[in-house]
Symmetry: C2
Subunit: 178 residues, 2 copies
């Protein structure tokens, strides 16, 4: 069976995690590898309905994603997690549940993310209509030694995908491209 | 990719679900098919910590198992769920999250299950030390039209496995054995 792995995209809201997850799915489809995207919002609906955005609830959510991602990866799936996952400890806990873990810091300055504000959530948070919003009134603990860091404000989507895939190859989780 | 499927073992506590799940794993290993067992108790720890045994909490737990089982089955895994899953509606909800669903009623008379009482839980329930225990003070809604019914009080483990595997073949989820 091919190696499964978990590509864990962490970063501020609107840093580009969902965009990158879609581009990664497209990339892996061209090499006939099965992928599954675990998007933070979707997972909340199915696995963590009722959990809020306190640190404790966020951590439970992240560990559940880690558990499910680990199960899928054990069966050869390339799992792409797109979740803010703001706390270092919770990401490290998720890492322990996974054999081949590739932490990707999807990095962009807060000002850039806030300008993108795809769903208008930064505006709501600034207006006090949305509490515990990462980057506004909740902290984001950036990874200290991620397997990859991509800068979505400076690199193109395809450059970011190239960096991530290259890291997976260097780590021995993917066969190098010809 | 091979067909994935979910073999959902439902039945009273001590009806034989865990025993059958282990025997099914052994069977599928002989034909080189990857399996994953989602055991109700283990899943509670990783996906549903904090949930109790009220109907609502049980239903949430069963739907979460269905979600994860469906994800795995989509990637060709044979998922074996071993969970009391006492409510018909919740099992039907889980079925909707899965393409190839094989509901197996692991049937045994309550008296037989209670006599087995592997972990002493029936005794605790009878003594009033364990509330909401299925079969004692909580209902079990048996499946009305499961894909398979096995009787662990009357059939051997290997007969039960044969019935289940035969059903998977008839349903077209497994290639018939030579």
């Amino acid at each position: 069976m091919s190696n499964g792995m978990v590509i864990w995209l962490t970063g501020l809201p609107c840093a580009g995690k969902s965009t990158l997850s879609r581009a990664l799915v497209e990339h892996f489809a061209t090499v006939s590898r099965g992928t599954e995207v675990l998007d933070g919002d979707i997972v909340r609906k199915h696995l963590s309905y009722g959990l809020g955005f306190s640190r404790e609830d966020r951590d439970v959510n992240v560990r559940r994603i880690g558990f499910v991602a680990g199960l899928l990866a054990r069966h050869g799936v390339i799992v792409i997690v797109a979740a803010v996952s703001p706390y270092r400890q919770a990401r490290d806990d998720a890492r322990k549940l996974v054999d081949n873990f590739v932490e990707v810091h999807v990095d962009a300055p807060l000002a850039v993310c806030e300008k993108r504000d795809v769903k208008g959530m930064y505006a709501e948070a600034r207006a006090g209509k949305r509490a515990n919003f990462t980057g506004v009134d909740d902290p984001y603990e950036h990874p200290l030694s991620p397997e990859v860091r991509v800068s979505t404000a400076e690199q193109s989507v395809s450059d970011c995908v190239g960096s991530i895939v290259g890291a997976c190859e260097r780590l021995g989780y993917l066969s190098p491209r010809a």
